[in-house]
């Protein structure tokens, strides 16, 4: 792995979960905003993490999902 490869480090979370949570936290909450309107629609309840609680809401949801996941 090069220094520039994207990594996610956590003791608790699966990398795929973290990748989604962190991506949502970045793209929905941050970045340049052009004066005018941002119009988005929410179709998937699991992805309603809008606002300052983006990460934690999604972490809690993910935690629930992980807890309910059948063991293989």
């Amino acid at each position: 792995m090069s220094d520039f490869d994207q990594i996610l480090v956590s003791e608790e979370w699966e990398e795929t979960d973290l990748s989604l949570l962190e991506t949502l936290d970045h793209v929905l909450n941050r970045g340049l905003v052009i004066a005018g309107e941002i119009t988005i629609s929410v179709a998937d309840i699991d992805l309603i993490f809008l606002g300052v609680n983006v990460l934690v809401s999604s972490v809690e949801t993910a935690h629930e999902v992980l807890r309910k996941r059948p063991t293989e």
Partner: protein, 238 residues
């Protein structure tokens, strides 16, 4: 027909290959006032927040990260070509200043999830003996718990800042934005410092086994694309 806008770039004359954007639309590079903007055509009135669309947005912005440091736009930015042109023209000095700040850097994210330990809670509860009513005792516990958390969040923020400050160009910190998210920090790290930054954060993690850390990166500098503008966000339900 509107444009979905992904990011602003400098010193990029062409995309290195075909890039697929939201809804699979091909991404192209528009040039306005010597600045490059990655856009794709978008036919609808709103952008659904889905796993796939969020990942597509992130992938387009990330596609240029190995060549330059882009200024990302927020998910869901839909404009006409004329609106985009007016925005760039009117704010060119501010945008260039923002590009200059992030040039050669990437964003690294640190999140700390933590709750007051049982030990601390017991300390707080023990100190409540002698209060007249259960109600007052509970209120006092609540207040003391909040104060304790606030003080500890501040202390951890200062400790984290000191640990990495020599390696970063900028920092954005948010304390206790919710019950469980104790601290959220974004560090703007020059690419040359990335290896050292990672070593330092690994050490930080070892120093505080009582805290749950979540490190991620490198990211395009989403947290440092911060020209303040008035805007309105509409949430529709599809």
């Amino acid at each position: 027909m509107k444009l979905y806008v992904y990011c602003l770039v400098e010193d990029v004359e062409a995309l290195s290959g075909p890039v697929g954007g939201i809804s699979g639309a091909p991404v192209r590079l528009e040039k306005i006032e010597d600045l490059g903007i990655l856009v794709s055509d978008f036919n609808d009135d709103s952008v659904p927040v889905t796993h796939e669309n969020a990942m597509d947005h992130a992938a387009v912005v990330r596609s240029v990260l190995d060549r330059t440091t882009p200024l990302p736009f927020r998910f869901g930015t839909l404009v006409t070509e004329q609106q985009l042109r007016s925005y760039i023209t009117a704010r060119k000095p501010a945008l260039e200043s923002n590009l200059s700040m992030v040039r050669g850097c990437v964003e690294m994210s640190v999140k700390i999830i933590w709750e007051v330990s049982k030990e601390k809670e017991e300390e707080v509860q023990e100190s409540d003996h002698g209060l007249g009513t259960t109600f007052l005792a509970e209120k006092r516990r609540e207040i003391m718990g909040s104060e304790l958390k606030a003080a500890q969040a501040k202390e951890i923020s200062t400790w984290l800042h000191k640990s990495v400050s020599g390696l970063t160009r900028g920092e954005k910190v948010s304390l206790q934005s919710s019950e469980k998210l104790f601290l959220s920090a974004a560090h703007l790290v020059p690419r040359a410092n990335l290896k050292q930054y990672r070593e330092q954060t690994a050490q930080v993690r070892e120093e505080r086994p009582d805290l749950h850390f979540l490190f991620s990166g490198p990211w395009p500098p989403y947290s440092f694309a911060n020209i303040e503008l008035e805007f309105k966000t509409q949430f529709g339900v599809s």
